[in-house]
């Protein structure tokens, strides 16, 4: 039987709906006493994962357990896990109290528990109203009340903030924190990091059915690196000076400035002064968590930023800088300027069936994609995730901005074409090397290497 630990373990979970791979080899675990956010854009597989966890969807492979057991072997699951799922139905003609009494009977709790949970979620006065007349927010509250009927040890919530008013969201936040601090487990999904940022301790970020990040939220925060935007009189000279001082991550912005990552204002100012380069403007810019999230999950449907490209020379260590460049930093940056790698770059090829991004410029003639990503990046095993060190698998070598990286320490080909990150990352042992080819028509280029199955 179940071990009463309150742990949720998702191990190599995969689900295919026909041709569409909704979830691919997903692994993470959720510890009691914490609120874990389960984040990803729409259609990234969150709901499917949670439904597999709750025994509503049968996984194609892998397993998901609560308290060490799959859902169907929990005994009386209503006492152990409460689920608030999207599109959870209510009979429109049944009152809220009757709804709770029905499921309370199934779980085996006394009838007054229905009124207790109604009051708990703030529906005390609406108990005699039919659920069909409820607003979306009231339905969410009723779904939560249903989940709480059996006083469960684990709460699984799928987008619970949908339809809630700000007051309701604030209440939910407080409630979940209190729930978790009593030693119980909360797993809450959302497509908005901001919505749950203040609630969660741990975060699992998925995109296209795969884990992008898994670890404490604080570690994700630490990754937010600032960059300094500087407008020098002589960019070439300043770049050279910066590189002498080990600041290699320098790139031009569309408005003629330089973006220096990993340096402080003072450092940039001092170096410029020493080099005798006049500065017309300098300021620091920080990416917020939301941008980080966006960067981690971008590219699912729209493709990543049209300027993103897989790093030339993937595995090459990048000195002193763990963070992939923020795509969010300069959305308008021209391709030549920002050879960045959105994390999607080491994902598998997009699933068949997903709409292909339409707006990609086609591959330049004769381009050869350099470097093979280490296989280990393809499908990071859960065990291999250093929980406390997200940098370990977050790290993306940044393509050196061509023109400013004379050493080219990791960029055999700085002219990575705009859209390589999408389709051409091999999903397995397939060769990454792309033979030079004519520019394929848009829409085909995403899958030229057979990387997508």
């Amino acid at each position: 039987m179940q071990d009463g630990s309150g742990r949720i373990v998702v191990q190599n979970l995969t689900k295919h709906f026909g041709q569409v791979a909704a979830v691919q080899n997903l692994s993470f675990h959720v510890e009691p006493g914490s609120v874990t956010g389960f984040l990803g854009p729409n259609g990234s597989g969150k709901t499917t994962t949670l439904r597999m966890l709750l025994g509503l969807v049968t996984p194609t492979s892998g397993h998901a357990t609560i308290n060490g057991q799959p859902f169907a072997r929990l005994g009386n699951p209503g006492r152990i896990v409460g689920g608030v799922l999207e599109a959870q139905g209510f009979h429109p003609g049944r009152t809220a109290r009757d709804h709770l009494r029905v499921y309370g009977a199934a779980i085996g709790v006394p009838d007054q528990r229905a009124d207790e949970v109604l009051n708990l979620v703030g529906l005390g006065t609406a108990g005699n109203r039919a659920a069909g007349g409820f607003s979306l927010g009231m339905k969410q509250r009723l779904a939560l009340a249903t989940a709480l009927l059996g006083d469960p040890q684990v709460l699984v919530l799928d987008e619970p903030a949908n339809g809630l008013d700000p007051e309701g969201i604030a209440w939910l936040r407080t409630f979940l924190k209190a729930f978790a601090s009593s030693g119980r487990t909360v797993l809450i999904s959302s497509h908005l990091l901001a919505e749950v940022e203040q609630t969660i301790d741990q975060v699992v970020i998925i995109s296209r059915g795969q884990t992008m990040y898994y670890g404490p939220l604080d570690d994700l925060r630490k990754q937010q690196q600032s960059r300094v935007l500087v407008q020098p009189a002589d960019p070439q000279k300043l770049v050279a000076a910066l590189q002498e001082n080990q600041f290699t991550n320098v790139s031009p912005t569309p408005d003629g400035k330089l973006a220096v990552v990993g340096a402080t204002l003072q450092q940039v100012g001092d170096i410029a002064a020493k080099a005798g380069v006049a500065l017309y403007g300098v300021h620091e810019e920080r990416a917020d968590l939301e941008q980080l999230f966006f960067r981690l999950t971008s590219g699912q449907y729209t493709g990543q930023s049209p300027y993103g490209a897989p790093p030339p020379g993937w595995g090459a260590p990048q000195q002193g800088y763990q963070q992939p460049p923020q795509q969010g930093y300069a959305p308008g940056t021209p391709p030549e300027g920002y050879q960045q790698v959105p994390p999607a770059g080491y994902q598998q090829a997009p699933q068949p069936g997903y709409p292909q991004p339409g707006g990609y410029p086609s591959t330049p003639d004769g381009f050869q994609q350099p470097g093979t990503p280490p296989g280990g990046y393809q499908q990071p095993a859960p065990g291999g995730y250093p929980q406390a060190a997200p940098g370990g698998y977050q790290q993306q070598p940044t393509g050196a901005p061509q023109g400013y990286a004379p050493g080219g320490q990791q960029a055999p080909n700085p002219y990575a074409p705009p859209q390589q990150g999408w389709g051409q990352q091999p999903s397995g042992p397939q060769p990454v090397q792309q033979p030079p080819q004519d520019p394929p028509p848009p829409g085909e280029h995403t899958n030229p290497g057979g990387g997508a199955n």
Partner: protein, 300 residues
């Protein structure tokens, strides 16, 4: 299991569906029985008044003609328990309450079993209500001399109640199989009201009185009550003829029963027990596949 059955009962009793189905079932059974009984009265008395019949001194008045009213009214009223059963799982699937139902049950098999037990009980309840309606209607509309004796009456009622139970479960199974209440209801209603009855008549007529129709779901279901009625009438007629000094062989009896079955709304039906077994088979087929389908269905 007990908890889940309790929950299923609450599901039914906290919405209006059960009485929205049961009241019309009662009224239909009552009205139909009354109408058919009255119609049978006038036809039989007209026929009895025909000179030839009177000449031969056959007393139709001694026959329990009102069994036809009983069977016909119960047959037609079974559509209500059938609808009720069809919506049992299909409406949970379409309304997505099945999600919560599965989340609060130890496993799917147990939930589906609890539903089955619950709807067996409700099918019987519907059957009893319909039997009461049909009995009152028959008693009101029929001449007292045409009423069957208590044992025969009870026999027909029991076969009708069994029919209600099986139709409920057949509906439950088809609804579970299809997952769409509208689709399952349209199919069942068109079949049980139109295609089934007409098909049985056509099939029986075309195959010159074969028992083919009796093997179909509608034919076998109607055969439950229809064959009981025909048995009652055939026994009485044979008694009459034997008393008058005549002899009826088994072929003669079989022919007569077929005619009465057709009048009772079950053309081509087999004997009571065979009809029951065949309809049980049809019910089990839909029911088992419906349940199996939902043991593995992805609830998305």
């Amino acid at each position: 299991m007990g908890l889940l059955i309790k929950a299923e009962f609450r599901k039914i009793l906290t919405t209006k569906m059960w009485w929205a189905m049961m009241i019309p079932a009662l009224l239909l059974a009552f009205g139909w029985a009354w109408g058919v009984a009255a119609l049978t009265n006038s036809i039989v008395s007209d026929v009895s008044d025909v000179d030839i019949i009177e000449e031969f001194n056959i007393s139709f008045d001694d026959l329990s003609w009102s069994v036809i009213a009983l069977t016909r009214s119960m047959n037609i009223a079974t559509i209500f328990p059938m609808i009720f059963g069809t919506l049992a799982l299909a409406s949970e699937i379409s309304r997505k309450t099945i999600t919560t139902s599965f989340l609060t049950a130890p496993n799917r098999g147990l939930l589906l079993s609890a539903k089955a037990v619950t709807y067996v009980i409700w099918g019987l309840l519907f059957g009893v209500v319909i039997a009461i309606g049909a009995s009152i209607g028959t008693a009101v509309g029929s001449e007292s001399s045409y009423l069957p004796d208590a044992g025969q009456w009870l026999m027909i009622l029991l076969s009708g109640i069994l029919g209600c139970l099986l139709w409920t479960l057949l509906g439950l199974g088809l609804g579970a199989l299809m997952g769409s209440p509208v689709g399952a209801l349209v199919i069942l209603l068109i079949y049980s009201l139109l295609v089934g009855p007409l098909g049985d008549i056509v099939l029986t007529a075309v195959t010159e009185g074969s028992y083919l129709a009796g093997f179909l779901p509608n034919g076998s279901a109607n055969g439950l009550t229809g064959s009981t009625a025909s048995q009652v009438l055939a026994t009485q007629v044979i008694d009459l003829i034997t008393n008058a000094g005549g002899v009826v062989d088994t072929d003669g009896r079989e022919q007569f029963e077929q005619v009465v079955r057709a009048i009772a709304g079950a053309p081509g039906a087999l004997a009571l027990w065979l009809s029951g077994l065949i309809f049980l088979g049809w019910t089990a087929l839909f029911f088992v596949f419906g349940i199996l389908r939902n043991r593995t269905r992805d609830i998305t």
